[in-house]
Structure formats: C-alpha cells, structure tokens
C-alpha cells in the first residue's frame, strides 16, 4: 500500500500490523483454572501507518480500540498476528530489546491525571524515561532536554517542581505529551488523548499534537470515540466494531462517502453545533448496544444491529476488508470496507429497515475480589 506523505512523497509504513489478535481468556475451574472462552477484544486487525502520518481509530466503547493500541506497543501481549515497527517484528522481540525499543514508541493516555504518578513532580516524571534509557550523560543534560520539551508543549518552567494535581486538565495532558516526547519517539499512540478534556482544552491539545507532528515528523495512532475529533486530526481513519476494522479510509473520504452501515450510523449520530444541520439531517438510530466480545455474533459482527442487514451472507459469512468500486462514487484506492452489501448500499439499492434491539447481557467484567481485611485482629 502506498500513500503520499504531506509533502507529496510516498511514505513508507512505520508500523505494519497484520492479523493482530488479542484474546483475553475467560477462566473458570474448581481447582485449576480452565479457559472456557475468550474475550476477543481484538480479532484480526490489519493496518499500516505511514511514517509521519496520523492514523485515527474510532469505535464504540469496548470495541477494542485501547487493546489494539496497547497490543501494538506490546503493553498487552498479542495472542496472534504480527506487529512490525520500522521493519522490526515486535512480537518476537526479547524483553530487553523491547524495552530499549520503547524509546521509539510512546503512548499518551486518556485520563491525564490517572496516568501521572501523583507522587512524582513533573521533573521526575519527565526524567524517568530518560534515565530508563540512559539518555543524556548527566543530570544537567537531562534537565536541558526536559526544559526544551517543556517549551515545546507550552508549559511554563515553573511547572517542573509541581505535582500533577496542581495543574489543570489541559496542562496535565501536556505533561503526558511531554513525557512521551522527551524520549524523541517516532511513533506515538494516543489513546483518547482529549476525551477527558473540556472542549476548549481539547482544541488546544489537538492543535498542539498537530504542531508537534509538523515539527518533529511524528507518526500518530490516535484512538478516540469522537468521530469528529478523529477525522479532524487523522490522515486515515479506521472504524472499529467489536474487535475488527469495518472501514478504513482517508479522513475526507470517510465523511464524504461512508460505505459501511456502521460508519453511516456513527456519522449520523455525531451532533453538529449547527441548528440548521441538526434540524435537517436524518438520523440512523442504531438499536441496542454493542454485543459482548466474549460471544460475538456469527458472520458479520454488525448484523444484529444493522439496518441494512440481509437474510443471506450477513449472518454466516464474516466479511473481509476490501476495496469496492461503485459507479458515481469517488472511492480512493485506500478506502476499504468490510461489508458484503457495500455496493448495493452505496448505490441506494438496499434501503434501511427497522431493527429490533437485542438484549445485551452485561456482566461485571472482573468479579470483585473480596476486599482485604484492614482491621487489626486483637491478641486478647
């Protein structure tokens, strides 16, 4: 797959993910745990992120976005598939090698506060990574580097001696970004980097991310559930549903020509701050909720909620991500969709119909472990 970098030259992929699977075992057993099933959080994802570009991942809560991001960074060991980073296969890397590889791939988290150790001040947060990788000969050198990074993310110098809880949400997220940046990485996985922030702060952070990318030629994988945000910062958008990509397209195409029914529904659900648009537009309301990844529907995962679902194929054949050609519709070579009926839907041959919501039975994911005692037992 070739795509053009911002300056128009073809970019080689920095990250190649092939058939990535992350299955969390569900255990049960009397004496020894037996695996009785799997939560298929990520179930066969292929994607490729070109150098210097932004890949955006959207999807409903629980569809496996974060897991994908973590598996890509080997923070969660993948069950299957491969992750190639700059030509290196990560899944087979020895722990020590992987650790030093981490310098080049970093992560930004959703909740800036909880991802910062409340007992570390900003300086030690930023220096920790440097120390772990032996960057900078001495403390002075490291401090210099930290100071530069601080400037880059727009934090004042006095921030160094402060603790995370003393900052506002936006500033905290800047600290999180600085922590990733200070190592000089090539790839940054940003898991919902702005979801916890106020709109104004969100915009600041988005702008910051964009600026940094321009300056440092960073490659991003941005995960978010807000389609508008993802589309805004991404070059390519992947739409995820229940552990798999259902559509992947350049960010302009995805708005202009959404092909997958789920993408369409998602698109129509995003509120637009414009009364005229809101009043006019027609909503595709999805019935029910995301099915459980432990027990995903057979065939097309979306068919239980799909207004275009057909009696044939949908329920028994799992669609693959493919390119389609439809007359009268400009779809680029890099626009792929996983739907059996994408052509017919695009042309309007198939009409949406009513869907009855199915029951989704939610269970507490991890049974609460019985609380440890905290009271002293008495001798007497």
């Amino acid at each position: 797959m070739t795509s053009l970098a911002k300056d128009g030259t073809p970019a080689s992929p920095l990250v190649e993910v092939k058939d990535l699977k992350v299955h969390f075992p569900i255990k049960k057993g009397v004496i020894f745990d037996k695996v009785i099933g799997h939560v298929k959080a990520v179930d066969g994802v292929d994607l490729s992120i070109p150098r210097g570009r932004t890949y955006g991942l959207v999807g409903e809560s629980g569809c496996g976005k974060s897991t994908l991001g973590r598996a890509l960074l080997q923070l969660t060991p993948p069950t299957g598939g491969s992750v190639e980073f700059d030509g290196q296969e990560l899944t087979k890397l020895a722990p020590g090698k992987l650790r030093s590889m981490r310098r080049r791939m970093q992560m930004i988290f959703q909740d800036p506060l909880s991802s910062l150790d409340p007992r570390q001040n900003v300086e030690s947060i930023l220096i920790e990574g440097l120390a772990a990788h032996g960057i900078g000969a001495d403390r002075g050198e490291r401090r210099k580097k930290v100071a530069e990074t601080l400037d880059a993310v727009g934090l004042p110098r006095w921030a160094l001696s402060r603790y995370p809880h003393e900052f506002s949400g936006g500033q905290r997220q800047r600290i999180g970004i600085a922590r990733a940046l200070v190592l000089g990485p090539d790839l940054i996985v940003a898991d919902e980097p702005v979801s916890a922030l106020d709109v104004s702060i969100q915009a600041q952070v988005i702008n910051l991310l964009e600026e940094l990318q321009d300056q440092l030629n960073l490659t991003y994988l941005v995960i978010a559930h807000d389609l508008a945000v993802v589309r805004h910062i991404s070059d390519v958008v992947g739409v995820m549903y229940l552990g798999a990509l259902v559509e992947e397209a350049p960010s302009d195409d995805i708005y202009a020509a959404p092909l997958h029914p789920y993408t369409r529904a998602l698109m129509s659900a995003v509120p637009v701050p414009d009364p005229d648009v809101e009043d006019q537009r027609e909503r595709i309301l999805l019935a029910g909720d995301l099915p459980s990844p432990a027990n995903p529907p057979k065939g097309c995962r979306f068919h239980t909620r799909c207004p275009w679902a057909q009696p044939t194929r949908c329920a028994d054949e799992r669609p693959v991500l493919r390119q389609i050609t439809v007359e009268g519709l400009e779809t680029g070579s890099d626009h792929r969709v996983a739907c059996h009926w994408a052509e017919d839907i695009a042309t309007g041959k198939l009409r949406p119909h009513e869907v009855k919501a199915e029951l989704v039975h939610q269970e507490a994911e991890t049974p609460t472990e019985v609380a440890p005692p905290s009271e002293p037992t008495s001798i007497i």
Binding site: A371, P373, E375, T377, S378, I379, I380
Partner: protein, 334 residues
C-alpha cells in the same frame, strides 16, 4: 457458587497442611514439654525422661509428626494429655460455649456499632462524631479483666441483675442435647434453663463486644461516609424518597459490604480470641481451654483445636464471602 465453595475448601487443604507442620514444629520447639507440666514441682530428671520416652517425645520431630499425621488422617485427633479425654470430645463440649458467646458479642457489637457508626458519619466532624468514635475506642482500650470486673461489680454484685460466672446456674438440672445451652433449653422446653443460659451470656457478651465494637464503628463510619457521597444516593434523594428509605435501602445496604468483611474477620478472631473473657467469667469455651493447653504443652489439644479453629475461621470467612454476593450482586465469588 458451588465451584467457589469447593475451590475454597480445597484451598484449605494446603493451608491446613502448612499450618499443621508449622504448628507442630513450633510447639515442639517451645521450651519445656508436657512432662514438666504433668509433674509440676515434684519433677525429677528421671521421671521427666521416662515420660518423654513413653510419649515418644524423644524421637526425631519428623517421626513424631508422621505419627501425628497418620492419626489425624485416620480421623483421630488424639486425646488431651491434661484431661485424657478425646480432643474431639473436648472440642464439642467447649466450642458451643464459645459460639454462643461470640454470637452474643457480635449481636451486641453490631447492634450498637452500626447505628453509632452511622450517626458518626452523618454528623461527621461534630462532637457526636468524636464521641461515638472515642466511646467505641474506650471499649477496646479498657483491658478485658478491668472491664469485666467493673461490669460485674455494677450490674451483678451491685444490682444483682446478672450472674457473673459460668454458662448456667449449677443448681439447675438442665438436659444437654447439643451443648448449646440456650438451644438445648429451647429444644427440651426447659424455659428456665434457656433463660438462665441467656442471662449468663449477657455480661461476658458485653465485655467481649467491646473488642470488635471499635472496629465496627470505624468501618461503618468510613463506609457510610463514602457511600453518602455516591451518585446513587443523590439519585435517591432526587426521587424524593423518604429519609428512611434512603437510609436503609440506599445508604446502609451499600455501606454494609465492608462491614460484613470486618465482621467476618472479627468472628474469626473472636472464636479463638475470647480467652480473657472466658477466663474472667469462668466461661467454659475453647479460648480458655487453649490457654490451659498452652500451659500444659498439651500438644494434641493445641494441634487439634487450632486446626479446627483454622477450619472454622476459613468457613466463617467463606460464609462472609458468600453473603457478599448476596448483599452485592456485582460480586461474583470465584
């Protein structure tokens, strides 16, 4: 659920095994053995040596342990060196007393502790709060022998409301069925015997309750404090529910979870920890008997009792964990 129970019971096996080994070695390492205890002031080296030899105490410890385990595995916990009665009999005779006492103490502690903790939390920061917490603390700070003395002096000697010792008036000719005197009284319809047994439980119950009381108050208070600022309490208020409904259904029911664990833990320690209370009230229970057994280096009793107490402790906590899943549907025991 069933799996959970089986699993926990199976987990008990290695724990018990470890405990028995540890305990055995530990006990046998204590200076002085049953022979000194038996002989007292009149011991001579020759006599001690003979007893040790006859009891096999001069053999290597692992041989002794092997013998012990063999017997235990065949279902025999041996007999007490001190009383020469089977350990199981001793246990069955003394355990009911301790259970009755523990239950009484828990009823008192919970009955006082939870309301007190609740009030303290709702009036957080006021003098009522400090008073409840401090008052509950008082109980644990006054040593049992002193508290027992005061309680007896006032409620028994002064007012004559309660008896001070034993589990039942010795002049009552009660029929024994289960060994739980109150229960026996009810079963045999000897009402006076049952009433008398209850009266005998109250003072030691109060004294024993003083130990868990502080914990219960503290946990209840902390737990209620946490729950009252949960969103669902606000929702309940927004629904216009009456104060009682909000309190009982929405606050207390949720606040009870940690309290339940604490009570479970406390039950465990009360079962084996009522030593002083049992002594001070001449109450026939296992706590006092264990202490006697320690003094006598009564190895079979110590091994047997502690193993049984450990099992009961685990069972009680198993029950608490199960009751957890009853109070809190989110908790699936595993």
């Amino acid at each position: 659920m069933f799996r959970f129970i089986v699993r926990r019971l199976l987990q008990l096996i290695p724990t018990l095994f470890g405990l028995s080994l540890l305990l055995f070695v530990w006990l046998h390492r204590l200076p002085g053995g049953p022979e000194t205890a038996i002989l007292g002031e009149r011991s001579t080296p020759e006599l001690r040596a003979r007893i040790r030899e006859e009891m096999g105490l001069d053999q290597p410890i692992w041989v002794q342990y092997g013998r012990f385990m063999k017997r235990v595995l065949s279902g025999d916990l041996g007999t007490s060196i001190g009383t020469k009665r089977p350990v199981t009999t001793e246990f069955l005779e003394r355990f009911p007393g301790t259970v009755e006492l523990t239950i009484t103490a828990l009823i008192i502690a919970v009955g006082i502790g939870i309301p007190l903790g609740y009030i303290a939390a709702r009036r957080r920061g006021t003098w009522i709060d400090q008073l409840s917490v401090g008052g509950a603390l008082l109980g644990i700070c006054i040593p049992v022998f002193f508290l027992g003395y005061i309680v007896k002096e006032v409620l028994a000697v002064n007012f004559g409301w309660f008896p001070t010792t034993g589990r039942q008036d010795v002049t009552i000719d009660a029929t024994r069925v289960t060994g739980f005197f109150v229960l026996d009284g009810l079963l045999t319809r000897e009402w006076d015997a049952a009433a008398d047994a209850i009266m005998h439980l109250i003072l030691p119950g109060i004294v024993l309750a003083s130990i868990p009381l502080a914990s219960i108050v503290r946990i209840t208070r902390a737990s209620v404090l946490e729950v009252v600022q949960e969103d669902y309490v606000r929702t309940a208020e927004a629904k216009g529910l009456t104060e009682q409904t909000v309190r009982s259904r929405h606050i207390l029911r949720n606040a009870m979870l940690p309290v339940a664990t604490t009570i479970g833990l406390l039950t465990g320690s009360l079962l084996s920890g009522a030593v002083l209370t049992e002594t001070v009230f001449a109450f026939s229970g296992i706590g006092a008997f264990i202490v006697e057994a320690i003094d006598r280096r009564d190895y079979p009793v110590l091994m047997g009792f502690i193993m049984i107490v450990a099992v009961i402790y685990v069972l009680v906590n198993l029950l608490v964990d199960l009751s957890y899943s009853l109070i809190d549907p989110r908790v699936r025991v595993r």
